[in-house]
């Protein structure tokens, strides 16, 4: 009888993930202990875990380690994404602290779930095997499904959770089917072995079908059109902090796995994949922006805006190579700060004890809370891509990579989309600065942690916009080994 040799346990490659998971378990345990009334200490532990994972990731920069028979790779690329994801998680945790108490949904398991989904995201960035990709996506998504429904008494929240779960499960099955077909075509699920098996051979239609299904699965996770239908309903119904995590962390993680796939096993099919991505990018940007124009609910608007931003990032993937991928990495970094900030500013507003999500609630906000309005304006301007904010440089870099690769018309579509996008972002500024509130408008719900999150995000936006060079170098250093 053959003995299945257990692979050597390589804990180093798991170090950042382990920190997160341990903190998550600790959060669950602490939840059971008194005091039962306040769960702030649980949140602090979760935050400490994320910060620790961030530090571990930063300290390991420059090293490369493989483990579990090459299923996981902790290289600069994964570390870069760990940093991005940790920032997203930290901002979301900071925003959640007072928000959950305010909305009466404070619970210890929320913090545990944030950490578990974060660990899934980090695994996704380090995955070097289709099976790990699947497992990590499930770990991430299952936690998010639960979190979307954490407002147990609110119908919209439960609906969001259900919708997200059903469509997510649907997407996962596409993904799994794609993985099965690729395994059938190449005999492996490991990225390098797939690439090796395909090298020098014309790729089979089974492989292409697998790639197509894989792209469908990822299309759901990054909310690319036409797989974006879940996004607006989920973003609207889920607690705002969870929407922020879905929009930033989970999107970044899905892009992380997608880019690693494009640099490795999918490279043989590059012309076909690029053609598909071209269309996806153009359609995603256009639909996202055009539909966002019609939204008056800010969470829905940000949902469509995040669809549009996925489209811009796909432009970078179309451009391809290390330059295009590096541009997407920088874009994600900038996007995480900007989007988390925008969701955060909305989350800190309430109108009559309820969340202020309608654009009309924001009329005259600049008069009532000038600093909060200024912060939200900053985030919106960065989303438009006004220099010298990070959103501008991110767009500049992505569109530049597209022009460099000869996709001039895609770049033209992208910039015209940016002009459309300006309209709906500016409309929020119009309400805040140029309209007076009729009756009671949104007011700031004081929160030290939330304010801190906004400050961090704002500083990040300005820093990335004015001094992007070092971060661009980091992004390039992270992707260049993948595209050798």
């Amino acid at each position: 009888m053959d003995v299945i040799a257990a692979p050597p346990l390589a804990l180093g490659v798991l170090a950042p993930v382990l920190v997160i998971v341990v903190a998550g378990l600790l959060a669950l345990a602490l939840d059971l202990l008194p005091p039962r009334t306040s769960k702030e200490h649980v949140g602090s532990v979760a935050l400490a875990g994320v910060v620790a994972a961030l530090l571990v990731s930063v300290l390991r920069w420059g090293t490369e380690e493989r483990g579990f028979s090459g299923m996981l790779v902790l290289d600069n690329y994964a570390l870069f994404f760990n940093v991005v994801i940790c920032y997203a998680a930290a901002l979301v945790l900071l925003l959640s602290l007072d928000y959950l108490r305010r909305t009466g949904a404070e619970s210890g398991e929320y913090y545990g779930l944030v950490l578990f989904s974060t660990s899934g995201m980090m695994l996704l960035a380090a995955a070097n095997d289709l099976i790990v990709v699947f497992l990590a996506i499930e770990l991430m998504s299952l936690s998010l499904y639960v979190m979307a429904g954490i407002f147990k008494t609110r119908l919209a929240s439960s609906e969001a959770s259900m919708k997200y779960f059903l469509l997510g499960a649907f997407a996962s099955s596409f993904l799994l089917y794609g993985i099965a077909l690729i395994y059938g075509a190449t005999g492996s699920t490991n990225f390098e072995r797939i690439a090796a098996a395909l090298a020098g051979r014309p790729h089979s239609s089974m492989f292409l079908a697998g790639v197509g299904l894989l792209l469908v699965g990822f299309g759901f996770k990054i909310s690319a059109v036409p797989f974006h239908m879940w996004a607006p309903d989920v973003y609207e119904g889920a607690p705002t902090s969870v929407s922020a995590l879905i929009a930033t962390g989970s999107k970044a993680a899905a892009f992380a796995a997608l880019i690693r796939l494009l640099g490795g096993p999918l490279r043989v099919a590059q012309p076909d994949v690029t053609a598909v991505l071209w269309v996806l990018a153009a359609v995603t940007m256009t639909v996202g922006n055009v539909v966002a124009v019609a939204q008056s609910n800010l969470k829905r608007m940000l949902a469509y805006s995040s669809v549009a931003h996925a489209g811009y990032m796909l432009v970078g993937l179309v451009a391809g190579g290390a330059v295009g991928a590096g541009a997407v990495l920088f874009y994600l970094l900038a996007y995480v700060f900007t989007t988390a900030g925008a969701f955060g500013a909305i989350l800190l507003c309430e109108r009559g004890r309820a969340e202020a999500v309608d654009v009309g609630d924001y009329a005259g906000l600049a008069r009532r809370h000038p600093l909060l309005a200024a912060a939200l304006t900053l985030f919106l301007l960065s989303l438009i891509g006004i220099p010298p904010l990070s959103g501008f440089f991110a767009k500049f870099y992505v569109f530049g990579s597209a022009v460099r690769a000869g996709y001039l018309w895609l770049a033209v579509i992208a910039v015209l989309n940016s002009a459309v996008a300006a309209y709906y972002y500016l409309r929020v500024i119009v309400y805040m600065y140029m309209r007076e509130a009729d009756g009671e408008g949104a007011v700031y719900a004081p929160s030290f942690a939330g304010g801190l999150a906004l400050v961090i995000a704002a500083v990040g936006i300005v820093l990335l916009g004015v001094m992007p060079a070092p971060f661009v170098d980091l992004a390039q250093a992270a992707v260049s080994p993948l595209f050798r």
């Binding site: 220099p387 501008f392 530049g400 033209v412 119009v430 170098d473």
Partner: protein, 519 residues
């Protein structure tokens, strides 16, 4: 690291805005005084740029260069030449005037207003002194936000519509320009091996003539033409001008429109000489249409502010005409006319604002006979109106005369048609003056209007001083410009002939297939 003079001039207003942020909201007197002090300090700081500028040199002066993103070829590169020096001075001159005039116009959110104006000044100055295309683009776009807020927050009744229209128009043009900037960057990089956004380096390279250059020219030209605004891209302008508060209109007409014409001079001509030459006739046509159309609309315009706004379309048409003649006279005239228009139209907007404050109407029909109650105002208004219509001895004449002189050498029909614009300008300006100022008082409300206040005198007199000075002794200003303009024309002509010589040469190198081979 030492801070250069240009950096100090650009960023002083921004610094001032930040400092003002710490003054409590209620201290409006302090905020006005502080804002004005910062703007005046910027003006004083910018004076050495004028006096220290050597008009015989065509090169960039007061150059500052620092590394910013060397890996991408993006640098912090500043400098001024004879074209931008006047525009920088115009900006630092008009900003304190606009701020001083705003004291009684803006009563709501004073602190934000003053801060926004100062941020706007930094953006405008940055546009004029950037010698790195990326840096230029950053200032060009960043400046949209404060102007958007000025129109949208402190504007008239349909201000939101006007503000959004202004931003979207400008954004569409400038985003397409961004793609063209990137295309130029990569084309230059792959041809020379140097990837850079540095303007002097890009200009040194001869952009190959053909479709690529034409498309890039069109993208740049669209962005600038919207800003100028060249007919038919002018429709945002009447809305923006009419809705903007007086100080906003002054800055918009005085400085912002010049960023478009400046862009043509600084980028389109030297970077895309062939396209500039081949699209020249189209620009001529549009400029002449703009001149005549703008003037015709002015003639029938019942709203004073709209009249001044449309007169801008007409005047800026002259500037475009001058630039694309590519003659020394035309270009110098164009540059001077930019300054002139900034002064005259700025003053007109100020004065329209003054009577609007008194009467809360801008309809010409609501006035009449103002000379009886406001003699000083009427006198100054006459000088400004005459300057706007190009009376010899005042500034407007100098620019328009030089432009027509240039146009006459290049294209006589165009020059003749453009001249009708001057006649029409006399028609609509004088008729407007007649209906507003002269005659008997037709509305009883106008009988008790107070004349100019000391503050209004203080705001208007400096502008009038320059209106007369440029009219009487233009050499003080043209002298700074001529060398740079000559160099620019030489640059365009040599590059255009190089690339034109290059294309036949390529053809000639292949022997014609059917030519008999004879020794």
């Amino acid at each position: 690291m030492s801070v250069g003079l240009l950096s100090a001039v650009i960023f002083l207003p921004l610094l001032g805005a930040v400092v003002l942020g710490f003054i409590p909201r209620r201290a409006t007197r302090g905020i006005w005084a502080g804002g004005l002090a910062v703007a005046l300090a910027t003006l004083v700081l910018s004076l050495p740029l004028y006096f220290g500028f050597d008009g015989d040199q065509a090169d960039y002066q007061f150059v500052e260069e620092a590394r910013w993103m060397p890996a991408l070829g993006i640098g912090y590169h500043l400098g001024i030449d004879g074209i931008s020096v006047l525009l920088v001075l115009l900006t630092t001159f008009l900003t304190p005037i606009a701020l001083a005039s705003a004291r009684h116009t803006i009563e709501d959110r004073v602190k934000e207003f003053v801060m926004t104006m100062l941020v706007l000044e930094t953006g405008m100055l940055g546009v004029f002194v950037s010698l790195d295309v990326f840096l230029f683009y950053v200032f060009w776009e960043a400046m949209l936000v404060p102007m958007y807020l000025i129109i949208g927050v402190w504007g008239g009744s349909s201000r939101v519509y006007a503000a959004i229209k202004f931003v979207l128009y400008t954004l569409v043009g400038s985003l397409l320009m961004l793609v063209a900037i990137l295309a130029l960057y990569f084309q230059h990089g792959s041809a020379t091996g140097v990837y850079t956004f540095d303007l002097p380096l890009l200009v040194r390279w001869v952009t190959p003539a053909g479709l690529g250059q034409n498309l890039m020219f069109l993208a740049f030209a669209l962005a600038f033409a919207i800003k100028v605004p060249l007919f038919p891209f002018h429709t945002w302008l009447p809305d923006a001008h009419v809705e903007a508060p007086t100080p906003g209109s002054v800055i918009l007409a005085g400085v912002l429109l010049k960023m478009g014409t400046y862009g043509f001079l600084r980028f389109c001509l030297p970077l895309f000489p062939d396209a500039s030459l081949s699209f020249g006739p189209i620009v001529f046509t549009l400029a002449v249409i703009g001149i005549i159309y703008g003037a015709c609309v002015c003639t029938v315009q019942p709203d004073l502010k709209k009249l001044v706004a449309y007169s801008s379309v007409s005047h800026l048409g002259f500037v475009m005409l001058g630039i694309f003649t590519l003659t020394p006279q035309g270009l110098v005239g164009g540059v001077i006319q930019m300054v002139n228009h900034g002064l005259s139209t700025g003053a007109l907007f100020l004065m329209v604002g003054m009577i609007y404050e008194r009467r809360h109407t801008r309809l010409i029909a609501d006035f009449g006979g103002l000379w009886q109650v406001m003699p000083a105002f009427s006198a100054l208004f006459l000088v400004v109106s005459l300057s706007s219509l190009g009376l010899p001895g005042l500034n407007g004449f100098v620019g328009e005369f030089l432009i027509l002189l240039g146009a006459f050498q290049v294209n006589r029909p165009v020059a003749v048609l453009a001249t009708t614009g001057i006649i029409l300008a006399a028609v609509y300006t004088l008729w407007m003056y007649q209906r507003v100022i002269l005659g008997e008082i037709t509305h009883e409300e106008n009988r008790r209007l107070p004349d100019l206040t000391p503050r209004e005198w203080a705001v208007l007199v400096p502008v009038l001083l320059f209106i007369v000075w440029i009219g009487v002794y233009p050499v003080a200003f043209t002298g700074k410009t001529e060398a740079s303009v000559q160099a620019l024309i030489a640059e365009v002509e040599s590059k255009a002939s190089v690339s034109r010589a290059a294309s036949p040469a390529r053809l000639a190198s292949e022997p014609p297939p059917l030519a008999p081979v004879t020794p």
